[in-house]
Every structure is written in C-alpha cells, then in structure tokens.
Amino acid sequence: MIWQVDLAILALVVICAIAAVTVRDLLGAGILFGAYSFMLCLLWAAMGAVDVAFTEASVGAGVSTVFFIAAVFRTTRRTKD
C-alpha cells in the first residue's frame, strides 16, 4: 500500500461521489457513479484486495452503470436537484 497512490485515489473517489450527487442530470449522475466505482476498484487493487477489485469492476462499475442508464432511458433525465 503506497500512501501517495492511496491518498490520490481517495481524493478522486470523494470528488466523484460529490459530483455524482450534485450534478443536475440523471444520465451524468449515472456515468459519474460508474467513474466512482472504477476509482474504488483502483483503490481496492492498491490496498491488496484484488478479488474485491475485480468484483467491483465487473459488478459495481459494469452492471450498476448499465442499470442506471437503462432506468434513465425508461424514465427521464431531468431532475430539480
């Protein structure tokens, strides 16, 4: 666990999380949530949890983003907050 890499990825994770909950577009929020999951996957790999890392990459980043995009296409992109 190299602490410089760890701290940089942690900062990116928090930035992606804040951006995903504040952006005023649901499609953008879903894509930012996918970016957040990929940053978390990098973090797990840097912390030595490789099994959690590839599960997060396939399930968390892949399937969750597909779910969000499918839900946004079936409903609406507009949001008030």
Binding site: V50, V59, S64, F68, T76, T79
Partner: protein, 132 residues
C-alpha cells in the same frame, strides 16, 4: 499533541470513509429525486466496504496467496506477511447484495414513474394526497 495529529494523519482511510458515508447519507435524506437517493444509498454501501477493506490492510504485507509453492519444502506461514483476507471475503458478498438492492430499487423507481409521471418525491406525495 503530536500523538493526536499522528492519529488523524495515520488513519486517513477512516476519515475518507466517514466523509463518503456522510455524502451518501446527505444524498439519501436531502435530495428530492429518487435516482439521486438510490445513488446515495450505493455510496453509503461502498463507504462501509471501504471501512472493512481498511481494517484488513497491513503495511508491508502482500496479497493473501502463499508464496512458497509445491516442491519448495515445508516452511512456516507467517501471518504478518499477508493481508487479512477475511474482510475481503465478507465484502464480496456485500457487493453482490448491493447490486441486487440497486436493481430492485431502480425497478420500483421505474414503476413509480410509469404510475405518476415524475421521479420527484414531493410531486409524487402531492399526487398521492390529491387522489382520494
């Protein structure tokens, strides 16, 4: 004084986990849109996963695969050389459960949109109150 700053700086993973958890909780409570609430729920779950993985991490340790393979004789396994794999295994289950929860929540949101024509919580509440 030095020990307090050392405590804050050395455990930065836990501070980031707390801030991520607060971001998720804020999105679940304060946001009006249902998809935003679901994103907040997922951020809260992944923050808890970050907490558990941080428990298992060790300085100067490698991934939990035994280094001496077959044919190298018998050596003692030193647990301090390996990252603790028990939190990893627990969190694999948590990831799968979180994606199942996400699927159910988004399906309910789609049904609500088909019924009420909006994803905003206050508008859904108004329509429910107006209907007898």
């Amino acid at each position: 004084m030095e020990s307090i700053t050392g405590l804050i700086l050395a455990k930065y993973n836990y501070w980031m986990y707390i801030s991520l958890m607060m971001v998720g909780l804020y999105a679940m409570i304060a946001k009006n849109n249902l998809v935003k609430k679901i994103i907040g729920m997922n951020i809260l779950q992944t923050a808890i996963i970050l907490f558990y993985i941080s428990i298992g991490a060790k300085k100067g340790a490698t991934i939990p695969i035994i280094m001496h393979s077959e044919g190298h004789g018998h050596e003692a396994v030193h647990a301090v050389q390996y990252i603790n794999p028990l939190p990893h295994v627990l969190m694999l289950t948590a990831i799968v459960v979180s994606v199942a929860t996400l699927g159910v929540a988004l399906a309910l949101a789609i049904r609500l949109y088909a019924r009420f024509g909006t994803l905003e919580e206050d508008e859904i509440n108004d329509q429910v109150r107006e209907a007898p």
